[in-house]
């Protein structure tokens, strides 16, 4: 019996959200370093060997994202009190004083990109997409079809990319400029779409979404889902501009509306799907979710009460960041998966 012993996929999604929110909110160097260390630790301890992608690509991403972030910021943002040198004003956009402040902000931006990608790929390696898809109610079948098509599109892109690159290299293709991307990008997109269509056909042919009787579908669930999506976007906007309580309210409303939309019962409901294996919510899931929720709440509360503890601004002067020890401590709860679920992918089942 080789059942997986990892956490439920929903637990990993919550963990990923809790780890991402402080990074999306601001570029605080202490929190960035802490979260980067946490995600690397969880990644190395929790990802099963067959899904480990190694560290080389992450190092390469860092080697690309950090210099780009630093250089772009240095030469486009001419603010800050720690001056390094000056570029002639004759150069449009780049001309002006180059400051250490801008370089630091660029460095933090580059590292934030690396940390967010590390969180995303870690969650992607640990969740069980098919288990998640099974949790989608019949009313949201079309959304799940779209999601599964997108999911099928993504992992095969890297394989296709390698094959296309090798085939084009055999034609003598070389990188000399942006135009040389066309022979790679066009076949990549066309092939990916072909495969996604096949996946969608397979889903349809195997009865995905149950069999709600034709002609009895109500128009309001899609409208409710649309409204929920709108509220979610509003919530993200409010969060981004620092209105965290308003954001929390909007996202709560979005969740309730979406739930009502997809769960709406009555005569228009389709066949209720069953599960081959029941997912088991374990003590480890409770612990990880508890840690993630605590970290999430701490982030939202800190954003409301002490935003400078999340948002670091090296402008106009390069000061040591204001740090909230309590927030640092509570974010450390995101390390719980490494302690309670040291191996195995998602989906503990009976």
């Amino acid at each position: 019996m080789d059942d997986h012993d990892g956490l439920d996929s929903r637990t990993w999604l919550l963990w990923g959200a809790a780890a991402s929110v402080p990074l999306i909110t601001g570029r605080h160097p202490v929190l960035l370093a802490e979260l980067l260390l946490i995600v690397l630790a969880v990644r190395s301890v929790c990802t099963p060997p067959e899904r480990r992608a190694g560290w080389g690509w992450l190092v390469r991403l860092g080697a690309l994202a950090v210099p780009i972030g630093v250089l772009f910021n240095m030469f486009t943002v001419h603010a800050g009190d720690t001056r390094l040198f000056r570029v002639s004003d004759d150069l449009p956009l780049f001309g002006g004083t180059v400051t250490l402040n801008a370089a630091v902000y660029g460095l933090l931006s580059g590292l934030t990109v690396v940390a967010l990608v590390a969180i995303g790929t870690t969650v992607a390696a640990l969740i069980d997409w098919s288990a998640l898809m099974r949790l989608v109610p019949p009313r949201a079948a079309s959304i799940a079809v779209a999601g599964s098509v997108a999911w099928a599109f993504l992992p095969q892109l890297s394989t296709s990319w390698r094959e296309i690159r090798e085939a084009q290299t055999a034609r003598g293709h070389r990188w000399r400029g942006a135009r040389d991307a066309i022979p790679l990008i066009v076949p990549l997109m066309a092939g990916g779409l072909d495969r996604s269509v096949t996946m969608a056909e397979a889903l349809e042919a195997r009865g995905f979404g149950g069999t709600a009787p034709a002609g009895r579908r109500s128009a309001w669930p899609p409208a409710a889902l649309g409204a929920a999506l709108t509220m979610a976007v509003v919530g993200i906007y409010l969060f981004a501009v620092g209105r965290s309580l308003g954001a929390a309210g909007a996202i709560l409303v979005a969740g309730v509306v979406a739930l009502v939309g997809v769960r709406g019962g009555g005569p228009t409901a389709g066949i209720r799907s069953t599960r081959y294996r029941e997912t088991v919510w374990t003590r480890a899931d409770w612990l990880v979710c508890g840690g993630a929720l605590t970290a999430l709440v701490a982030t939202v509360v800190t954003l409301q009460l002490q935003p400078e503890a999340l948002r670091y601004e090296p402008y106009p002067s390069l000061d040591w960041p204001v740090t909230s020890p309590l927030l640092v401590l509570l974010l450390a709860l995101l390390m719980v998966p490494a302690v309670v679920a040291p191996t195995g992918p998602a989906g503990r089942h009976t």
């Binding site: 098919s130 898809m133 599964s148 055999a170 022979p183 076949p187 096949t198 056909e201 149950g210």
Partner: protein, 568 residues
């Protein structure tokens, strides 16, 4: 004369197509043109025909994917188990029709084999107890119970396709439709799948409709063949032996081609049947072997090795490829064929040993430099097409390789005259493959590496490919071709290199490497012995002996009509 299959009156109709006409969106001609078809309960039917003749479209009408999923204009009616596909889409038709697609990878819906099989049952709300029972039955039926906890993505192609069949059967459909299910499998994987299908048909009475090009393992298993005419998907159902008598021999298995050539009655469909007839044929003890004299060495490897972690993927590979030579690279899936080709091109770092291609060392220069000397056709050659016009694809390659060519001459070489202004993605699958070959031949590279070039190809396209490669070799080109297609190798290769677990385990002429093998042997070898690789060789030998001493070469029974077929 073509005689339509006369069905047993007892066999009731399970599905019927009445005057079906279908045209894809934006298409100018219909893919199915006034097609009527009755499928009897319990039958196993083969749908055959050239690529692009409309086989897949015809199959997709049976569960409503056409037109519900594909759109387009649909006329006529398709009724399966009393339900019309006009009123019921593929989702609802899945109660009656299980559908298995060509690509085993593209239809995996679960993270474990048993979950994947249960997918449709979950969607239908089947109670868990009943669901578990049905999954157990299907695991046993398809002989995949030991794989139940595995991730389907880690299975071999044949195993994955059997999982897909189990998944398609989960709702107990009366009709199972399979669209070229073995086209991407090695011979052993294909045999596993087809044996499972025979068992389902014979033991459980499941009605099966299967579209396939590779008939050597299938023709004797089916009740009838529907030959689909290009451009219309009309055609008639024929009993397999009638089909073998009436169709162009090129599409038949080697034993049936021998039967047609010798006029054996009934036309054999299996090696066993052919052996009975062959006992009366007297052949020379040895065959004159005409092999082209190879030229200088184009590519040389010495002791190359590559490892992934602690496992050797390639080890101690010595290989010479000479001008004018076609070398076939064979071996099970995972034996290292593709890795060897990619290593030769410098896409894999070399662990040990040395490779030299016309004085260039892959990996030390940019791979594009090797690409100008060596053409490489990957498993999906059409993936490289990106330009707006067919002609531009050739011109782009010429620019990259620093040569000047006339695109029309290159296109004529592969039979694509007059198509230079078309969009590459508007070409048919076969035309796209020939375009990919023309691209790779642009600038006359000294060697051509081909990775499974005949996967999913019909017989005519294979024949065309070999003709193009013959022309290329006559001009001094060398070909290294990784393939599972033993019959193709027998008819075209000068030398065969067999890989096993990353090592060369045999290297020599086809009759030596393929001969005596339990798995890599042609049907002709199984009938006439290791020396005789193809029906053409046997028939040629008979023909030449006939001109010298007609009384001795063949002991025919009365009524046997000997036709040393020109169709070979």
């Amino acid at each position: 004369m073509i005689r339509q299959l006369e069905r047993d009156g007892a066999s009731s109709s399970l599905a019927s197509l009445v005057d079906v006409t279908y045209r894809y969106p934006d298409a100018t001609v219909p893919s199915i043109d006034h097609c009527s078809w009755e499928i009897g309960a319990g039958e196993m039917l083969l749908v055959a025909g050239a690529s692009g003749s409309g086989k897949s479209t015809l199959l997709r009408t049976l569960n409503g994917l056409v037109p519900h999923f594909s759109g387009g204009r649909f006329g006529g009616s398709v009724v399966v188990c009393g339900d019309s596909t006009r009123a019921n889409g593929p989702n609802r038709m899945s109660r009656h029709v299980g559908f298995v697609f060509q690509d085993p990878e593209a239809q995996v819906l679960g993270s474990r084999v048993d979950e994947d099989i249960a997918f449709s049952l979950e969607q239908r709300g089947v109670p868990r107890t009943a669901m578990r029972k049905r999954v157990e039955e299907l695991l046993d039926l398809l002989a995949i119970a030991p794989l139940r906890h595995r991730d389907p993505r880690t299975l071999s192609g044949g195993e994955r396709q059997r999982v897909a069949i189990a998944g398609a059967l989960a709702l107990h459909p009366q009709l199972l439709v399979l669209d070229e299910p073995t086209s991407q499998l090695d011979p052993w994987g294909a045999e596993d799948v087809l044996a499972s299908l025979s068992r389902l048909n014979e033991d459980l009475g499941l009605t099966i409709v299967i579209a396939e090009h590779r008939m050597e393992r299938l023709l004797h298993r089916v009740d009838a063949v529907r030959w689909v005419e290009p451009g219309g998907a009309r055609g008639v159902d024929l009993a397999p032996r009638d089909f073998a008598r009436t169709v162009e021999p090129i599409v038949l298995p080697a034993v049936s081609r021998l039967g047609v050539g010798f006029g054996w009655q009934p036309v054999p469909l299996t090696v066993k049947e052919a052996r009975r007839h062959a006992a009366r044929v007297s052949l020379p003890s040895s065959r004159p072997i005409r092999r082209s004299a190879p030229g200088g060495v184009v590519m040389r490897t010495r002791g190359i090795g590559m490892r992934h972690g602690s496992r050797w993927i390639l080890r101690g590979v010595d290989l010479d490829l000479r001008q004018g030579e076609l070398v076939a690279l064979i071996g099970r899936n995972g034996s290292g064929k593709t890795t060897l080709l990619r290593t030769l091109l410098g896409h894999h770092p070399l662990g040990e040993g040395a490779v030299e291609i016309m004085g260039l060392v892959p990996g030390t220069k940019d791979p594009a430099g090797i690409g100008r000397s060596v053409g490489y056709l990957p498993q999906q050659p059409t993936a490289m097409l990106f330009a707006e016009r067919v002609r531009d694809e050739i011109l782009y390659t010429a620019r990259q390789r620093g040569v000047e060519v006339d695109p029309d001459v290159m296109l004529a070489m592969v039979g694509l005259d007059g198509l230079g202004d078309r969009h590459p993605r508007d070409l048919s699958g076969g035309e796209q493959e020939r375009l990919a070959l023309a691209i790779m031949l642009t600038g006359k590279p000294c060697a051509l590496l081909l990775d499974e070039p005949t996967r999913g190809m019909d017989a005519w396209r294979k024949d065309q490919l070999i003709r193009i490669l013959d022309d290329y070799r006559r001009d001094g080109g060398a070909v290294l071709m990784a393939t599972h297609d033993v019959e193709l190798i027998a008819g075209s290769a000068d030398r065969v290199v067999m890989l096993g677990d990353g090592e060369v385990i045999a290297d020599g002429p086809p009759e030596h490497v393929l001969g005596g093998s339990l798995t890599f042997t042609t049907q002709t070898q199984l009938v006439f012995g290791d020396e005789w690789l193809t029906p053409g060789q046997v028939l040629d030998a008979v023909r030449s002996r006939a001109t010298t001493s007609p009384a001795t070469w063949l002991e025919t029974s009365a009524g046997d009509d000997v036709r040393c077929s020109d169709r070979e």
